[in-house]
C-alpha cells in the first residue's frame, strides 16, 4: 500500500513540476528583492518589519494560490479526461488514489515553501540584524495551514466542479480566519440553543488562526513550543478527517 501511495504522490508532484508551478518561487524571489531594494527606503524606520511581513505573507499567499488552483483541478481533470479509470483499473483503491493525490500536493507545497523559505532567509541574512530562527516556525505553520486547506480542496473536488471547488475552498479559508468571530457572535445570542449552534459551527470549521503566528514572530513575541505541537496535532487530525470524508464521497461516485 505504501508503495502505491508513494507512486501516486510522486506522480502528482512530477505533474506540478511539469506545469511549471515552481516559477512562482521565482516571482517570490523577485518580490523579496523588490521589497528590500525598492520599498525599504520608503518605510521610515520599519524596514526589517516590512521585509519580513511581505516575505511571510507572500509565502502564505502563494501557497494558498497553488492549493486552490492546482488542488481544485487535480482530481476533476483526471475524471474529465478519463485517465482516472486507467489508474483505478490497477490494484489501486479509490481512497488510496485520493490520499496519494493529497500527499503529492503536500509534497509540492513543502518543496515550494522550503525553496521560498531558503530565498527569504538568504535575503534576510544579507540585510544584517533582521533574521530570526522564529521565522522558520512561521513558515512551518504556513505549511500546516496549507495542508488543512489542501484537505478541504480535496473534499470539494470530489463532489463539485473545479471552479466551484476553488471558490468554496477560498470561502473556507476566509471563514477559517474569522472563526473566532463566529464564536463571539454565538456568545451574543439570546437563547442557549443558538449559542450551542454557533459553538458547534465554531468547532466544525477549521480555525486557521491557530497557524497564524506571522504577526507574533515579526514583533519578536515568544511562541510557546506547545503551540507548535497543538497546531501539528490539529492539522493532522482535521486533514485526516476531511480526507476520510472525501474518500467516503468519492467511493460512491460514478466514474465514466
Amino acid at each position: 500500500m505504501m508503495g502505491t501511495l508513494t507512486t501516486l504522490a510522486y506522480g502528482t508532484f512530477r505533474e506540478t513540476v511539469r506545469d511549471r508551478l515552481f516559477y512562482l518561487v521565482g516571482i517570490f524571489g523577485f518580490i523579496m528583492l523588490a521589497s528590500t531594494a525598492v520599498l525599504s527606503p520608503l518605510t521610515i524606520g520599519a524596514q526589517s518589519k516590512i521585509m519580513v511581513d511581505v516575505g511571510l505573507a507572500a509565502m502564505a499567499a502563494f501557497g494558498l494560490l497553488v492549493v486552490v488552483l492546482v488542488g481544485s483541478n487535480m482530481i476533476r481533470k483526471e475524471m474529465d479526461k478519463g485517465t482516472i479509470v486507467t489508474i483505478l483499473a490497477r490494484p489501486v483503491g479509490r481512497r488510496q488514489y485520493l490520499i496519494g493525490k493529497f500527499l503529492g500536493l503536500n509534497l509540492t507545497l513543502a518543496c515550494m515553501l522550503a525553496l521560498m523559505g531558503g530565498l527569504f532567509s538568504l535575503v534576510l541574512l544579507v540585510a544584517p540584524g533582521t533574521f530570526s530562527p522564529a521565522y522558520l516556525g512561521a513558515i512551518y505553520m504556513a505549511l500546516l495551514e496549507m495542508v488543512v486547506i489542501n484537505a478541504v480542496v480535496v473534499l470539494f473536488s470530489t463532489c463539485v466542479s473545479a471552479p466551484l471547488a476553488a471558490v468554496a475552498t477560498l470561502g473556507v479559508f476566509l471563514i477559517g480566519h474569522l472563526s473566532q468571530s463566529i464564536r463571539d457572535f454565538g456568545d451574543m445570542q439570546g437563547t442557549p440553543l443558538q449559542q450551542k449552534i454557533f459553538a458547534g459551527l465554531y468547532y466544525l470549521v477549521p480555525n486557521l488562526e491557530v497557524f497564524n503566528i506571522r504577526g507574533a514572530v515579526v514583533h519578536g513575541d515568544p511562541i510557546a513550543l506547545a503551540q507548535f505541537g497543538i497546531a501539528t496535532v490539529y492539522c493532522l487530525g482535521y486533514a485526516a478527517l476531511l480526507v476520510i470524508l472525501a474518500g467516503a464521497v468519492f467511493r460512491g461516485k460514478g466514474l465514466r
Partner: protein
C-alpha cells in the same frame, strides 16, 4: 527599386499608435481634472475595524500597505495637496491591523504635534501605542520629551523618562533624561540616585564622565542644604 507597402501592417501600426495616444490623453486629462479639484480630497477608506476582519490572515501585510499609503498621504500634504483631514482614519486603520506597529505610533505622534499642532493628540497616540507595546522605550521617551521640551512639565517628563528607562530595550539615553528631568523638577535626591544608577550600569566613557560630574555637583548642593529638601510633587501620567 520600388518599396512594397503592406497596407494591413501600416493600418495596424496606425491603429496601435492612435490607441496609445488615447491612453496617454486620457491619463493627462485625468491628472488635469485632479489638479483642478484643488485641495478637495477624495479618499475612500473603510474603517480600521472593518479592515481587521476583511484582511483575514494577512493583517500585518495589509498594515504595511496602509503604512505606505499613509506616508504617501503625508508626502502629498507636504506638497500642499491635502490638509491631513484623513490622518486619524489612516493611523487608526494601520494600528488596528497591527497594534504592535511601533513606528506608526511614533511617526504619527510626530505628525500630530509638528503638523497638526496638537500635543495632547500626540501624547494620546503614544499612550495608545504603550498599551500594546508596554516594553518599548521609544514611546514613553517621546511622551517625556514632549513634556520636557514643550510643556516644561519636568515632574511629568521625569515620570515618563523613568518609565522608558525601565523598558528592556532602554539605553543610557532614557536614564540620562530621567536624571536630568528629576534635577530640573527640583527633586535632587531622586536625581542623585538616578545618576548613581546610570554610573553603575553604563560602559560608555562619556556617560561615566557626565554622571560622575553630576553626582559631585548634586551631592555638593545637597550637603549645603538642610536634610529635608524640596521634593517634586507626585504626578499622574
Amino acid at each position: 527599386m520600388t518599396t512594397h507597402w503592406d497596407m494591413g501592417r501600416v493600418g495596424r501600426s496606425v491603429a496601435a499608435f492612435c490607441c496609445l495616444l488615447i491612453v496617454v490623453g486620457s491619463l493627462l486629462s485625468y491628472e488635469g481634472l485632479r489638479r483642478s479639484e484643488n485641495g478637495q480630497e477624495h479618499l475612500y477608506f473603510p474603517s480600521g475595524r472593518f479592515l481587521r476582519e476583511a484582511t483575514v490572515g494577512f493583517r500585518e501585510a495589509a498594515a504595511d500597505y496602509l503604512w505606505f499609503r499613509f506616508i504617501q498621504y503625508y508626502g502629498a500634504f507636504e506638497k500642499g495637496d491635502n490638509d491631513l483631514r484623513y490622518f486619524d482614519l489612516l493611523v487608526d486603520a494601520v494600528v488596528r491591523l497591527d497594534p504592535k506597529f511601533v513606528e506608526a505610533y511614533h511617526f504619527a505622534s510626530l505628525v500630530a504635534w509638528s503638523n497638526l499642532g496638537s500635543f495632547p493628540h500626540s501624547i494620546d497616540l503614544l499612550k495608545q501605542g504603550i498599551l500594546h507595546n508596554p516594553d518599548v522605550a521609544k514611546l514613553p521617551f517621546q511622551i517625556g520629551f514632549t513634556y520636557y521640551v514643550f510643556y516644561k512639565d519636568y515632574p511629568r517628563a521625569s515620570f515618563w523618562f523613568e518609565t522608558a528607562a525601565k523598558c528592556s530595550d532602554s539605553t543610557d539615553r532614557e536614564k540620562r533624561f530621567a536624571a536630568f528631568a528629576r534635577h530640573r523638577a527640583g527633586d535632587e535626591r531622586v536625581s542623585l540616585e538616578l545618576w548613581k544608577n546610570l554610573l553603575e550600569s553604563t560602559d560608555n566613557p562619556q556617560m561615566i564622565e557626565l554622571s560622575t560630574k553630576m553626582i559631585a555637583e548634586i551631592s555638593a548642593k545637597l550637603q549645603a542644604r538642610p536634610l529635608v529638601g524640596p521634593q517634586a510633587p507626585e504626578v499622574s501620567p
